[in-house]
Symmetry: C2
């Protein structure tokens, strides 16, 4: 809850009001927000932090690069910090809010044009406000035989924000950082750069070839505050002639670890392209309520979860993957997968083991790996209730022993603070790493519990760092703390780049710990 307006740091009310008046002239009065009640959607955070630490001074929603350039002129003149969002639904990482109070939210949702889709090459060029839903509907309406890759939140979010924050999806192109192609970026001084082949007049390969010529700069504009990305090229996954989803269940952690090693080998050999493993709560948590399992104090005890799962035939660890291809390709690959996972003492099922006419446990995986937007994973937010969520996502080598170690580090911390351990491990595209994403759920209406969640998250970050594991992404309350884990040399390089590209420091101060 916020109760009083904030100003940008070190700026007088008069200066700011003048700037707001100019924002209104640039973007239209209806696209500039300073009223507290209208700011509410931008301050509704889920992470365990004070709302006030992330309260914006203003929101401005331009519709074009020209309007962004005009806004930047004012921000540079008055040193007004500007935090860019696209759809602003960054949920467990910070929703639409900024790392520091008093920033002006540059809301790009009105820049929502699908500029081009090439139905032969399977590429798209979109603006930041384009949602996965809009792009999905565009492809469907035109029978374009390509699928989107999107995160669990796909039905509510969009590809530009997700990709720039290194979000992940679940199909062949699930590692979004590896599958975008070409950017248009507005720098802090208003200059516009089209990267890669986008700099070549008359080029028809901006969305076909990633690297261009000379230093590859696109990476600079991901998870950073070095520029405002106003167009992004995407690779779309060709619809295969057929697909088949399978699941593997394990009740023993060592077997599950062997399963991760098996999945790595299958990926390195090109047999599988997707793999996501989770503990029982990460699966059942999206379809049941916590109160149905446990009403005692603290985290749900292991034996309670085990009893619940045993009674319902649910494994303690479950993985899913989808094979793509002709029925012939799928048959030969499925046989290899079955053999490999049975050797880990896994319980192996495919979608064929369930009735076709109603949802099965594999339905969410089928949907998310075949371009069908599906919010079912977000049922997890009903599991516990209370609106608190913080995602902790350390990167691990894709090795069973690292998965076990990560679980062994995390679980006691969750338990010590009285929270349930809910985690999934998603394979990266090369099969060499997994993002171990844990969802710290808590009751954000309870101030003491929110404080505990903050302490729990702090302990997770610190404990993992001490063991050499660091998150691939973090929430707006922990950005500097995580940057420190990556060490002074990277921080120093980032600072030098920041000074060069944004000398007044107006773009999203604090993003990824860069000021």
């Amino acid at each position: 809850m916020i109760s009083a307006p904030v100003l940008p740091p070190c700026i007088t009310r008069e200066t700011f009001e003048q700037a707001v008046a100019e924002f209104r002239e640039i973007a239209g009065a209806e696209n500039v927000i300073v009223e507290l009640d209208r700011l509410a959607p931008y301050t509704k955070i889920m992470i365990p932090d004070e709302d006030a630490w992330h309260q914006p001074a203003c929101v401005v929603a331009p519709v074009s690069v020209v309007e962004i350039q005009a806004i930047l002129r004012i921000c540079n003149r008055d040193h007004i910090p500007l935090w860019t969002i696209s759809t602003g639904r960054n949920f467990g990482y910070g929703t639409a809010a900024a790392a520091t109070p008093g920033q002006t939210i540059l809301d790009l949702r009105r820049m929502n044009r699908i500029l081009e889709v090439d139905a032969e090459m399977g590429t798209a060029l979109v603006e930041p406000g384009v949602s996965y839903t809009a792009l999905h509907d565009y492809l469907e309406a035109r029978n374009i035989p390509f699928w989107l890759s999107f995160p669990s939140s796909g039905a509510l979010t969009g590809p530009v924000g997700n990709t720039l924050d290194r979000g992940i999806g679940y199909n062949r192109y699930g590692e979004h950082m590896a599958h975008f192609c070409g950017m248009e970026v507005v720098l802090a001084d208003g200059s516009v750069v089209r990267t890669g082949m986008g700099g070549v007049e008359g080029s028809n390969s901006w969305q076909c070839y990633r690297w261009g010529y000379g230093p590859w700069t696109d990476g600079l504009f991901t998870q950073s505050n070095f520029g405002i990305v106003t167009k992004l090229g995407l690779w779309l996954m060709a619809k295969p002639p057929a697909h088949k989803t399978f699941g593997v269940g394990w009740d023993d952690a060592e077997d599950m670890a062997a399963g991760i090693d098996a999945a790595r080998r299958l990926r390195l050999q090109g047999t599988i392209e997707t793999f996501c493993m989770g503990n029982a709560l990460s699966g059942i948590g999206s379809v049941i309520r916590r109160a149905g399992i446990w009403s005692g104090q603290g985290a749900i005890p292991d034996d309670v979860i085990a009893d619940f799962c045993r009674a319902r035939g649910v494994s303690l660890w479950g993985a899913t993957a989808t094979l793509y291809g002709t029925t012939g390709q799928i048959a030969v690959n499925l046989a290899l997968c079955r053999e490999a996972f049975l050797a880990t003492r896994g319980h192996f099922v495919t979608e064929d083991d369930f009735p076709v006419d109603r949802p099965s446990p594999l339905t969410p995986e089928i949907n998310r790996t075949t371009g069908q937007l599906d919010l079912s994973a977000f049922g997890i937010y009903n599991f516990r209730g209370g609106g608190g969520s913080a995602w902790f996502g350390p990167v691990l080598p894709m090795r069973g022993s690292d998965a076990l170690k990560s679980i062994a580090l995390a679980k006691p911390i969750f338990a010590a603070f009285g929270f349930d351990f809910i985690g999934s491990l998603t394979m990266g595209y090369s099969g060499r790493h997994i993002d171990h994403i844990m969802d710290l759920l808590f009751d954000r209406t309870d101030a003491a519990e929110t404080d505990r969640a903050h302490a729990c998250f702090t302990s997770l970050v610190e404990t993992f760092a001490a063991a050499g594991y660091a998150p691939y992404r973090t929430n707006i309350g922990f950005m500097t703390k995580v940057a420190e884990i990556y060490g002074p040399a990277q921080q120093g390089l980032n600072r030098r780049l920041k000074r060069a590209l944004d000398p007044n420091g107006i773009l999203a101060p604090g993003k990824s710990g860069i000021f």
Copy 2:
């Protein structure tokens, strides 16, 4: 031929001699070269440019980061430009020479340690002086079941230089820019940055996860002069249980174009992972001498090539690819490939169509796609003789119509200047682009012909740029000209980054047109 020493620009002989004396103290006298005769290996260029335009003042070969730091201190103090090479065999792009005269070559061949190979994850961490041969032998000696991807020059070159210059190979990981993981970089001021997970103390995922946290800066240090890469992580390709190479031949250009479209669709569906197409001369040119076909003036006429090919059963256009997997996986994929390429009226053969006990036309492709270093493609340098070679490599969307257009643009230019058109088109990892690499061969002992080759290359660059096509890489004589094709916005951004990271401009001035 060079006949007199050069100095770094704007530096007195005394200053430079003092600097050289200090280089000797740092790296050892035997690792510093200023004598003209000993500089010869560093000035032997193949491109159609005056030797003198690329003549170094000195070579220094340090063995450690500490020595590099000491060298940088002197270069910053005296404004001595420093051009970094690893193995220095950049052949048709400039061999070991610098973009401008008077640079000191920082030769990293003595930094040749294989620091780590993870036989489970399929990763390596190497220094710049490591050759593909050394790394290949290391894997073989230890029975590590992974293969290298390397360019045609692999037996003479190394992974760090090739990867940093966006070189390509031919197996599953052939797009090297997409398959390295983690760097150590020495910046111009001597500070050392380990990128990605390399910044995290105690991390075991430096070579497993590419992106780290915050802006991804690794791309900055490719095709650039922003830092000196002293360690590079590589992903190695898992040896498959089996592999099968196939070839497709076409005599009609339209059919060949249909074949490229078919290959794109096969790649987008995940059926093939490699594909390289070339014209007849690019194939036969590496095994025959030009004089055996044609002794007339100018380029070999099309009908002479056609007659030669017809008599020997060689197609005018030929593509190769290798399938990996179990015999079952290969069988089902091979059937799909056969069907797809037969539909383009291609002549389809596999390695099974040739006797196993002697080399076949597919042998070079088998070798290069299965980790066997093979210089046979370099037989092309015997085709014409004379030691002149310049590679022109525009990027195209992977579309038959673009391939036809590129050939239609290039061939008349080669012919107009009296040179043979020799070109191959190699598919990128996403199946959305091809590098159309043409080898301009000429007699570098003939000054008039060298001038004509220079004019031909200029015409190629300009004609392709006017059509919207630009090279993915270029030689040291054309770096600024190509940078201009990518436009002023990218040039401006690169200049700002250069000023931030190398304010004295000592690192490789002119690299990729950046000063």
